[in-house]
């Protein structure tokens, strides 16, 4: 038992040590960014990421650095990664809009229905972990109501608690399914950014197949299938085709 405690204490200490090291790395990088030393800033941000951390802020800063170096595809890649982690962050949306206005391709998005937009903004209100926490909270609340329902002798209290318990249980089921969906989404890396300056999209995973259309660096794709070295992709306006996987980077 004592050994266990000491391990736990050590772990905390260790994590604390790492945290301060990361902070100083990020601090340095932020300073370098402000001074215009973007290459060095990128190096330092990358060091933190290489340690196995993710963070929307970190990705955002990387995106900024790449933008300042005029490396638009990398910039978009990191902004998109940041957005996966923090879908409702205004700064990310804003910068992404600016960068996307500077890439060669302007792909018209198929407009979404208004309730889908509402749903998305609601769905993106919390991260996976926060949705999971909400799920647990809802579950506990519904259990409390059910408990009161079971124990109460008075008829009125029993009825109220019964319905509240049912309501919160339904909310729990709902938020559980949302968390699950979000969890699946976060596990699935199915979007990519084009890194080759010009690429011809083919009709099939074969170099000799028919050219369908041409896209340029910085464009966002959705990967729908994979055959050998080829990805089947779909672009925002609905166009579908195949490209070599080496020409894109997955978000």
């Amino acid at each position: 038992m004592r050994k266990k405690i000491s391990i736990v204490v050590f772990l905390f200490f260790y994590i604390g040590l790492f945290a301060s090291e990361n902070d100083s790395l990020i601090n340095n990088a932020n300073k370098q960014y402000s001074e215009g030393l973007y290459t060095k800033a990128i190096e330092n941000y990358q060091k933190v990421i290489d340690k196995g951390y993710t963070s929307s802020e970190l990705f955002f800063n990387l995106g900024n650095s790449y933008f300042k170096m005029n490396d638009l595809p990398s910039s978009i890649l990191y902004y998109e990664r940041a957005r996966r982690l923090a879908p409702n962050d205004d700064d990310i949306q804003f910068n992404l809009k600016i960068v996307n206005s500077r890439i060669p391709d302007k792909i018209e998005k198929v407009p979404e229905l208004f309730f889908k937009q509402w749903w998305n903004s609601f769905y993106n209100m919390f991260s996976v972990n926060n949705w999971a926490k909400i799920t647990i909270l809802m579950f506990v609340i519904s259990l409390v109501f059910i408990g009161v329902f079971v124990l109460s002798k008075q008829r009125r209290i029993k009825i109220i608690n019964f319905w509240l318990g049912i309501l919160f249980f339904l909310v729990f089921v709902f938020s559980f399914s949302l968390s699950y969906q979000k969890y699946i989404y976060s596990q699935k890396h199915h979007e990519a950014i084009v890194f080759t300056s010009t690429i011809t999209i083919k009709s099939s995973p074969n170099i000799n197949s028919v050219d369908l259309f041409v896209i340029h660096e910085g464009s966002k794709l959705i990967i729908t299938d994979k055959v050998d070295d080829w990805f089947e992709i779909r672009i925002a306006n609905g166009g579908v085709g195949w490209l070599l996987q080496s020409s894109v980077k997955i978000i």
Binding site: Y33, D91, I136, I146, L151, Y180
Partner: protein, 620 residues
């Protein structure tokens, strides 16, 4: 009179002698020309001709002509006078076709008689052939220069054109100077530049003063003395990096080779009179076309290291100054603000300055004036940008200092020079002037001057371990299961506890009436036995016990007061409480009272029975 006749006779004789003179119509042209070379074709008639008809030229291009001129000559020798008149028709031709070309004869009428010149054969040789220098017959008959074909100097280097550049490895935008110099050992009477070099990839500026006479110096090359004339000097500013070639310059000149006493062969030693018109001896005009060597320039890119972002290509040694005519003014008054860049370098190439004017100012495009001096060492001067500013709103504004960055070639460093900043106080205009800005709808939308991305996020930054998802983790499921278990345990424990605790109190409560009745029953049996002492014990037990059980008052605490309190709390009617207390009192009293014990016992018994049943009813 006699004398008059004498003169008349002489005149007649002389005229007749002119008439008697043989009429000659001759043509002359060089025997050999090079392709592309200019030459003269001259027809001469020793008399006044008319109706000249020139030949048709094949293989030659007629540049100009026929240009006619006439001259007359009167000679009086030993009292006898000869008068000669000549007409010349001159063509300037250029050979276009290689080979033996024939110029057909021309015709002219003289004294109603038609004369025909001889046809000429001109050999046209190729351009590159240098073995034989072209010769030309003298163009002016008046100078009486012998038309003689001479052998050109064997040494090609008698006359040559040299192009030199002061730096073959400049930075982009750095000034280099190309000078074209003519080296000659012979006199040059005239020259014309046929083709200037094209300076692809350069911005060029001629720095030769066209009006000035050519400067001449002498130089010794391989022991030979040359006169050197600087024909042209051009300052170049490379506009791209890499290998650039300055195309050769081509010029044509007429070298005058003087020959003395027909000593044709050892001509070299006499070619020491330069650029002078020869007044003695025989002079041969030799037409030469010269070509300089192409120059290869390797242009270095400007160093990328420490290159400031605002650098716009200025190279040289430059300074920047700014001037403002006023800093205190009223709304809608104009300010003249000027920035002058001066120094040595490619100042004419500076297009725009990065001046930050307050956004509320109306700024007109700058008027740019150049004051460029070209000297032998290159281009220097100043370029002035004059801005007209009109503040449209009052307030205090700042025109930031203008930063001007250039590349210093000598120190190989980027340098920034900065002007001072000006603070401008704009007061509200009065009267008419202020009305202008407020007429109509004066409100403006906020103007965005630029767009940029949002700044980076500062610490604290939340770091997450990759793939550290709370959802689906053990902790997540434990947190779902544990509350369920807790609830079950809680319900279970709660029910158990309630059972345990609730049993005694509840039983006693529920059984209070029963116990009281049992006690009363006992009391009634004692009443029958007329056992006074036991009867009263049972009665008081029944009453006190009932109260204690029913209202959960511990037996030790029970008293008249606590009974009163407990019953009042239960909203029992005061008369019932009174009755109850009276019954209790009666019971205590009767216990020790002497007298008819039996009847008293019966009354008490009934009273107790009645009060308990009444309380029961009341509490329901």
């Amino acid at each position: 009179m006699k004398r008059f006749f004498k003169i008349l006779i002489i005149l007649i004789i002389s005229v007749s002698s002119v008439n008697a003179q043989e009429v000659k119509f001759t043509a002359s042209a060089p025997k050999t020309v090079r392709v592309g070379e200019q030459f003269q074709l001259v027809y001469t008639l020793n008399g006044r001709g008319s109706n000249f008809r020139g030949p048709r030229f094949e293989g030659f291009q007629n540049l100009s002509g026929p240009n006619s001129s006439s001259s007359s000559n009167v000679q009086i020798i030993n009292g006898s006078m000869t008068r000669s008149v000549s007409n010349t028709y001159t063509y300037y031709l250029r050979a276009t076709k290689e080979g033996e070309n024939t110029i057909p004869p021309a015709t002219i009428y003289y004294d109603k008689k038609k004369y025909e010149s001889e046809s000429l054969k001109v050999k046209v040789i190729s351009k590159g052939s240098t073995s034989r220098q072209t010769q030309q017959k003298s163009s002016s008959k008046q100078k009486n220069i012998k038309n003689r074909q001479i052998q050109s100097p064997r040494n090609e280097k008698e006359v040559f054109l040299e192009a030199t550049v002061d730096n073959t490895n400049p930075y982009m935008g750095e000034q280099i100077i190309v000078s074209y110099r003519l080296f000659t050992k012979v006199a040059i009477s005239s020259m014309s530049i046929n083709k200037l070099s094209s300076f692809g990839g350069f911005w060029s500026k001629n720095i030769t003063d066209e009006n000035q006479r050519l400067s001449q110096t002498t130089e010794h090359i391989n022991g030979e003395e040359y006169v050197v004339a600087e024909i042209r000097k051009i300052a170049l500013y490379p506009q791209m990096t890499g290998d650039l070639v300055i195309e050769p310059m081509e010029l044509e000149c007429i070298a005058q080779i003087r020959q003395q006493n027909n000593s044709q062969r050892n001509s070299r030693s006499f070619f020491d009179d330069f650029f002078n018109s020869p007044f003695g001896g025989n002079v041969y005009n030799v037409n030469k076309s010269l070509k300089s060597e192409p120059l290869k320039i390797k242009v270095k890119p400007l160093p990328l290291k420490n290159k400031p972002s605002e650098f716009n290509g200025a190279v040289g040694k430059l300074t920047v100054r700014s001037k403002i005519d006023k800093t205190e003014l009223k709304v809608n008054d104009a300010i003249n603000f000027s920035v002058t860049i001066s120094g040595k370098g490619n100042i004419e190439l500076i297009d725009e300055l990065n001046v930050l004017f307050p956004p509320d100012f109306e700024v007109y495009d700058p008027k740019i004036t150049n004051n460029i001096k070209t000297t032998n060492t290159g281009v220097s001067g100043s370029r002035k940008f004059e801005y007209l500013l009109i503040p449209r709103n009052s307030g205090q504004f700042v025109i930031e200092g203008v930063e001007f960055t250039y590349f210093d070639v000598l120190e190989k460093k980027y340098k920034t020079s900065r002007t001072s900043k000006y603070t401008i106080n704009v007061e509200k205009g009065s009267g008419v002037a202020s009305n202008i800005s407020y007429s109509g709808v004066a409100q403006e939308d906020i103007r965005y001057i630029g767009t940029d991305i949002m700044h980076i996020k500062k610490l604290p930054i939340k770091l997450l371990k990759i793939d550290n998802y709370f959802f689906g983790s053990t902790a997540f499921y434990l947190l779902l299961i544990i509350p369920v278990l807790l609830l079950i345990i809680f319900v279970f424990v709660w029910k158990n506890l309630k059972k345990k605790h609730g049993n005694i109190a509840l039983m006693r409560h529920n059984n209070a009436t029963k116990v009281a009745k049992r006690n009363l029953k006992k009391a009634s049996s004692f009443l029958k036995e007329n056992n006074k002492k036991e009867f009263y014990i049972e009665i008081s037990q029944a009453l006190w016990g009932y109260l204690s059980d029913k209202f959960q008052i511990p037996r030790a605490d029970i008293s008249m007061n606590s009974v009163n309190e407990a019953l009042t709390k239960r909203n029992v009617k005061p008369e019932i409480i009174e009755k109850f207390i009276e019954t209790l009192n009666n019971c205590e009293f009767a216990r020790f009272a002497p007298g008819d014990a039996t009847s008293m016992m019966e009354v008490i018994y009934n009273e107790a029975l009645e009060i308990i049943s009444r309380i029961e009813r009341e509490l329901r």
